[in-house]
Homo-oligomer: 508 residues x 2
């Protein structure tokens, strides 16, 4: 424990020097300071690889890059696949260690529309601040010192390529200092998380023996909006459904037929608008019946989290929020329905005076504990029927469309239920203790995050293994959107955090 | 009148031979039959020229093509512009003629999205039927006989490049037969009709002296769905407004913030859905107060038109119509509001799990007599305010968005009011008489079409000149949409009709 005292002092120095980040072992800090450009250069290389899960060649290139990168840190690995994108499964045995930590991260990203980005999504770009605050581009070639408030912009910078980089940098730093991890390390790196990890179930069935561990850390998701470190004990489930309504069999002139021909865009908008009230609360009959309310311990944990609602509203220039004034952490305890896309004709110069033959909306459903995909499908299908639609699980024929108001309900693959683990478990306490001790700063305990991770599959496969989420990305990383980014201080802090956990968790 | 008898016989023969079209002067028919390939080839050339009004170079190329083409038929012309797309103004004087007919057509087209078309919009393609009925492509190079049920597919095939071709073919046919028009002919060919003819007002102010006439024929719009010939005595007005609602200043993860951050797509859909009831009837308070109801004569005229609703529903594979069961001609007598486009995230593989910073809808308003653009703007702005939005006429700043629910209301230029002329005027009677006489078939008298033409400007400039619409395109021409087309029989019929009018209208 003696060495821990050094850390507290180092933490104080770090604050005095204004780096603003968490501190850790001096040697970790020193190594990072001396290798910042190399670490960023590795990250840049990794982010340069396009990584939409539907492109198998791209994902194989990413997996190969990872294998080369982690092999240098003593990992044995294999690329495995079950008909979808590849996964990387790896292990680094530590002589003498009796405990094993399994780490999850994913290396695929959401599809990106380059025209919406300020710099190409697969040409990592440094800026001295967020794009929204007119952050100026920093030239990679003329880097001297690196300001930790700068950000690196690329698809998957925030979600979720950074953990691999930070973890390997932590191992490099430990090795440079002559330290060793206190645990064996196993990795499962997912190449299709943004596509809903459709083959993860089969991957786990086939490779469970290589993934057994005493604790699983899910390294994904954003940190708390206060920038405080947090551990997260649950996720919402997620499902996506694409709904298509139908109008005339061919495009019709909006003048000659407007008001007479049913407009599929308007039909669909009416249906979507009827799912929630003006305040955004779900009003689909029975939909909330399956939801488990938060436990007393969870409610207590939320009440002790810093309330970021006002700051968030300011940062996002919001005049109001939905959900009846509940804070964002409370909203995340329940289900949400989000219309995330709509296709039914262009706007502005792309608009045409026609009534389209069809209109499609893409709807994301976030599930709370108690909801299952099967029940959600049943509830929603019933609701759509009650609104007067005849449902089809494949596009209806013109003849079917002529009979009644047809709705093509396309439940996208890869949806899954929520997950919650116990805030008070021994493993959680141990992890909290390590994190709070290494820099003297409190770790927030968040009952759930609003986002989704396929944790339930690990729960099914390894029912006794505690699963805790350890996020490292800045909350404002624009994940899934244009101009996704990682704040560099978050990468430096992640190196410290991973090093602390690997050094301490296996100690008696 | 003797020669007319020949025509009736020819008409009968045409039916007996199954061409299904109107017949006319033998000499006109013979000329057309001998020159079908040449006429189609000219049409193909004309349709090959891209013609979106916003591209001035493209529109100048179209105008130049027209000038060359009509000069061969004795027209003097000039290309004029008032800061927008070009117009072609032309005249063909007929020695001895005391009457003048002014003919309007337009040569620009709606924007086309090639990826939605079965063949490129500016590579005219012959098919043996509609795309929707799997019409097979006919090779241009191996044409021998031409089936009049074939169609030519290209942007503006139906709307509205055909009149220029048919009119010149009619003059060619008359000349070949040694006939001459009974009238002087003036042309105004509009290069920006699909953009709302924003500079037509100035064009008319400057060039009114070259456009005076005894009768104006508006050659645009589709024929009656029964394929019967019709004259149309009015149009609806048209306006377009683009509405943008706002959410967070940057894209947000739909999981972490779904249910808490206002979703601009959903806000906008709720607003749009609140404008009409489930049956598509406008329920905006006061919106219908300005509308003039149809006259008794107009109601009578509608009741005598063939009722095409059932056939149309069958053809379009519609299970129902909007508007409380009123027939399409009745609906066209009143105003309509059509959501024609929406931009707020992708669907299917393009969907991403985000809440967008903004969503935009494009809404087309069709105006009935009595409504003015100024009043419509006032009524709708009041409605949007009443729904809780603060309105902006330019995109609001983030600071403005933070104060209240902002709605950017972008009234697009070029909107205009409806037009109606007298069903019973002497000029109308004369025209009907010529048309009914030349092939013995009844001409339908339609009080208004649902679509819009900028006729009110001609009404303002030439208040005494009767203005009547003479459509030639098949009703199922997909105008404004993908796979726009003209049925070839409609082109042949147009040549007959124009020839009959030009030969007869100026006769005492």
């Amino acid at each position: 424990m003696a060495c821990r005292h050094r850390h507290f002092i180092a933490a104080g120095l770090a604050f005095a020097l204004g780096t603003g980040g968490a501190s850790a072992d001096d040697s970790i800090h020193r190594y990072r300071a001396e290798h910042e450009r190399q670490i960023l250069s590795d990250f840049r290389d990794f982010l340069s690889l396009p990584n939409v899960a539907s492109s198998t060649p791209d994902m194989m290139a990413n997996a190969a890059w990872i294998e080369r990168y982690i092999a240098k840190r003593g990992f044995t690995s294999q690329i495995v696949a079950e008909g979808g994108a590849p996964y990387v499964i790896a292990e680094r045995k530590q002589p003498g260690a009796s405990q094993t930590i399994l780490i999850y991260a994913h290396f695929d990203g959401q599809p990106a529309e380059p025209r919406n980005w300020s710099s190409p999504p697969f040409e990592p770009t440094l800026r001295d601040g967020p794009v929204e605050l007119a952050g100026a581009t920093i030239n990679w070639e003329s880097l001297t010192t690196i300001n930790p408030e700068w950000r690196i912009f690329a698809r998957s910078a925030g979600d979720d390529k950074a953990p691999v980089i930070a973890l390997m940098a932590a191992l490099d730093a430990m090795e440079a200092a002559g330290d060793v991890p206190s645990v064996n390390i196993k990795l499962i790196l997912d190449g299709e998380e943004e596509a809903g990890s459709p083959t993860l179930d089969n991957i786990l069935q086939k490779h469970a023996d290589k993934l057994t561990a005493d604790l699983m850390l899910f390294c994904d998701g954003p940190m708390h909006q206060s920038r405080m470190r947090q551990l997260v004990f649950g996720v919402r489930g997620t499902m996506t459904v694409d709904l298509t309504a139908y109008g005339p069999a061919r495009p019709l002139h909006s003048g000659h037929y407007g008001g007479w021909a049913p407009n599929p865009s308007e039909q669909l908008m009416r249906l979507l608008a009827s799912m929630k009230d003006d305040d955004g609360r779900i009003i689909i009959p029975g939909y909330l019946d399956d939801v488990h309310p938060p436990t007393a311990a969870e409610q207590q944990a939320i009440s002790t989290l810093p309330n970021m609602d006002t700051a968030l509203k300011d940062e996002l220039f919001l005049s109001k929020t939905e959900g009846g004034g509940k804070r964002v952490e409370e909203i995340s305890m329940g289900p949400s329905i989000i219309v995330k896309g709509f296709e039914g004709g262009g706007v502005g110069k792309q608009s045409r005076n026609i009534i389209m033959p069809s209109a499609t909306a893409s709807v994301n459903l976030r599930l709370a504990p108690g909801q299952t995909p099967e029940r959600v499908i049943a509830r929603l299908n019933q609701f759509f029927s009650d609104q007067g639609f005849t449902l089809y699980s494949k596009p209806p024929t013109p003849e079917e469309r002529a009979v009644s108001s047809a709705l093509y309900v396309d439940w996208r693959p890869g949806g899954y239920r929520a997950y919650r683990s116990d805030l008070g478990s021994a493993e959680a306490q141990k992890l909290v203790s390590i994190l709070n001790r290494f820099d003297g700063k409190e770790t927030l305990l968040t009952p759930t995050m609003g986002g989704s991770l396929p944790i339930y599959l690990f729960e099914d496969t390894f029912p006794k293994m505690p699963i805790i989420i350890l996020p490292i990305a800045n909350h404002d990383n624009n994940q899934h959107g244009r101009n996704e980014n990682l704040r560099i201080q978050n990468l430096w802090d992640a190196i410290d955090v991973y090093a602390a956990v690997l050094l301490e968790y296996g100690k008696p």
